[in-house]
């Protein structure tokens, strides 16, 4: 039986079967400021009263701003089965040059802090956050660009 694939938050990234997977933000039509997570009602730039925002894909690649890992199971609402052993994952904050923005995300499975360095180039890839209530929760992951040595 195949499980339903459900984005952990709707509208934050393209479907995970798309060939060019991207995070999705919004851009103010008036002042061009980009927002992620998306703002759909009103621009947050202080000098702008824009209310028309359009969806834009964020840059697929960026450079590591910082990183860490989670050695202990986070509390709810993090989807994690307490009956299973805890497997640490990395958290990577990535600087996107075009947007001038740092975006946090989990590292792809198998990426450890030993594989990472500040300044390293990474790319966004589709990933699975957890299985929950018969659904597969999908998310975005950051992964070192192949050939990028730590």
């Amino acid at each position: 039986m195949s499980r339903t694939r459900t984005p952990v938050v709707p509208g934050w990234f393209t479907p995970d079967d798309t060939t060019a997977f991207r995070l999705l933000g919004t851009r103010c039509r008036r002042c061009r400021t980009v927002h992620f997570p998306r703002e759909d009602a009103s621009c947050r730039a202080p000098g702008c009263a824009g209310t028309a925002l359009e969806e834009v894909p964020l840059s697929p690649r960026g450079r590591v701003w910082s990183y860490t890992d989670g050695r202990y199971r986070p509390p709810a609402p993090y989807p994690s089965d307490p009956g299973l052993p805890w497997r640490p994952y990395t958290l990577i904050a990535v600087e996107l040059a075009a947007e001038g923005m740092v975006v946090l995300g989990q590292g792809a499975p198998g990426v450890t802090v030993a594989d990472l360095a500040v300044g390293m180039e990474v790319e966004v890839v589709p990933g699975v956050l957890a299985e929950e209530d018969g659904r597969t929760l999908t998310t975005w992951h950051w992964r070192p660009v192949p050939g990028e040595a730590s």
């Binding site: 997570p37 947050r44 910082s66 860490t68 609402p77 300044g119």
Partner: protein
Amino acid sequence: MTGEVAVLGAGMHPWGKWGRDFTEYGTAAARAALADAGLEWSAIESVVGANTVRCGYPGQVAGATFARALGWQGAKVTSVYAACATGARAIDTARAQILSGMADTVLVVGADAAPKGFFAPAGGERPDDPDWLRFRVLGATNPAYFALWARRRMALYGDTPEDFARVKVKNAAAGALNARARYRSRVTAEEVAASAVVADPLRLLDICATSDGGAALVLGSMEVARRRGIRRPVRIRAVSSVSPRHPRTALDLPDIATDSAPAAGPGDDPFRPSIARAAYEEAGLGPEDLSLAEVYDLSTALELEWYEDLGLCGAGEGAKLLREGATALGGRIPVNPSGGLASFGEAVPAQAIAQVCELTWQLRGTAGDRQVAGAHTGITANQGLFGHGSSVIAVC
């Protein structure tokens, strides 16, 4: 310069972990502050409670909760919330009431009973809450953010885990001298290094615990202090409560991303330094005037950030200042002579009030074994999630 208000009394319930009703801790702290001020509860014209979201309805109407526990006597009641900066905002509210002539004597109280382990958001399916989302989508706990900032310092400035451990060693040594602290044992660098990694590169002993505790202040007008014959009261000269400026380019709790700051856009004006800058401007003082500082050491690495944000040293020089011993008791500018969050653990709404209690005792010269010699000017700094920062400057 804004007018000054007098600290008439300071009191705390010791920090620990007992799981009792937070009202008990706050009431004990309030009674201690009233006794310290030599004032009857009936003489208090206004009560400002620092709220705690974790203790249900009573926690979110803290002013009324403490007024009821002390015995309704008709005082004005206000309750405020600003995450980790709650206590300082309660002080600021009390100050505004005094300076505007709305009240001459104000009791400020904050207390908390914290759960074990990571702080977690309230339950339910609440995707409109950024704090809920960061746990849901990323499992990004508070220590995860502390660790991101620590790693960033290592990459930018060459700080090492040994530097971070030195902060714990320093603060534990001060906390060992403080009867109100939860942790009163000295800690060695080896013990920090042997503690479990929570979020690389930070270990358990790099991260502040969550605690129970209560703190209170009785604030009054300068006229009340004069009438009571207090010749040189400790005075609050500034309370900074500024908010960030867009675009925020440093990743901060509870956000998943920073604001967008295209290269052609406005220059970066980072939030934490702006908190202290506003306090210095209001007080007409600068970092060179300080005798001591109480800063929010949620992690060891974060204490080093505060050195730089308060202007005690230049960017990237925090670890050097620490290694020189300048920020230890007996140093040029002792930081966290109370022992800091490292020795107390965080009791959220009480913590920023406790920082001002420590300034009060230091500036009065009654801090005992941890007294900073000749202390005349002190600053506190703290930061709460959702863009709340506060800094208090007191003089004597």
